[in-house]
Amino acid sequence: MEELILKNKNIKIAIASGKGGTGKTLLSTSLFSVLKNNYDNVCLVDCDAEEPNSGIFLNKELISTDIVTQRVPVIDTDKCTYCGKCHDYCSYNAIFILPPYKIIRVINELCHGCGACTVACEFGALTEIDYEQGTVSEYKIKDTQSRFVESRMKVGVMSPVDVIKAGLKKGGDKGIVIYDAPPGTSCPFIHTVTKVDFVVLITEPTPFGLSDLKQSVETLKTMDKNYGVVINRAGLGNDDVYAYLKENNIPLLIEIPFDREIANHYSKAEIASEYMPDFSDKLNNMFEKIIKEHGNSSN
């Protein structure tokens, strides 16, 4: 009966951390693996568009790849009078203009696609074309109904945000959706967690882990998000992270021990929870607790 209730719920969970290399992908792929065995409609979205690598762990078949684009201006130099108004309207230094030399150029990498320059031009010299930002690929996980979505940014593009947003959209709202978030607390992270029901922050019990965990917590507080913490490499470092969690009443969800076996599996692109039943059980319990407290009924 209880299982039935869980199966009818929708939830979006982000796996995030301020510090890089704390185990976001380890946790995301392991949790995804456990959930796809226990539930029907599970989707993992790799939002770390600058360096997506969750896909390496998965046995998958490509369904489709979409190209994510942004509008950028092109300038018709026959119509351009070099008045400089488009340059003045641009907040991102994306239009380079030297009127005396009759030089005008768009720097696509700096353009945010806001369209202000095309509004500014009174001579019809600016039109817009599509500029590739990256790709979003959707995969089916073999022998399951579960899906994997990967956001991948094109090298040289200024911000991964558009590609991440396209990936979130492809992940959808139905069933269980897990986001492998990009590291840090800037725009890519913010966009990833904006619509989630719960954020799992993963950290390690070191001064670096604690310092960056605090930043993540402060950010999530301003966003009014529910969150809990997973401590990876437990047994390493010191107790300061534990003291911080206690002082601030932040739930400690699970601890993942500092264990060579995990590192061995990871280094071979094997999903740790598939080889370690204890870890798998811990993840399942953690998920059931999260969905009971934070999941939305699909009714």
């Binding site: 991102y92 230094n93 994306a94 380079f96 030399y101 150029r105 720097i107």
Partner: protein, 104 residues
Amino acid sequence: MKVAITSTGDNLESKIDPRFGRCAFFVIYDTETKSTEFLLNPNKNASNGAGPASVQMVADKGAKKIVSGEFGMKIKSMLDGLEIQMIVIKDHQKTVKSIIDMLK
């Protein structure tokens, strides 16, 4: 000919600013009249595009050479197109005055 030098301060004793786009000041030195002009760089704290904006500023002043510590990726092709020469100074302790002496 005019030469732009990136400077950390507003006088000749200031050290060279090793960053081009985000330097504190540009010194425009005219090799013919021997005059110098110090310009505060408004792009110092630009969130992005400081390099191209600084190229625009320096090119607008008519500089044909730029002396700095390093140049970013985005601007190299621009400077080639404008036929502005980049001169990289490895010793960041050099003063603006000593660079001007080398140009004389």
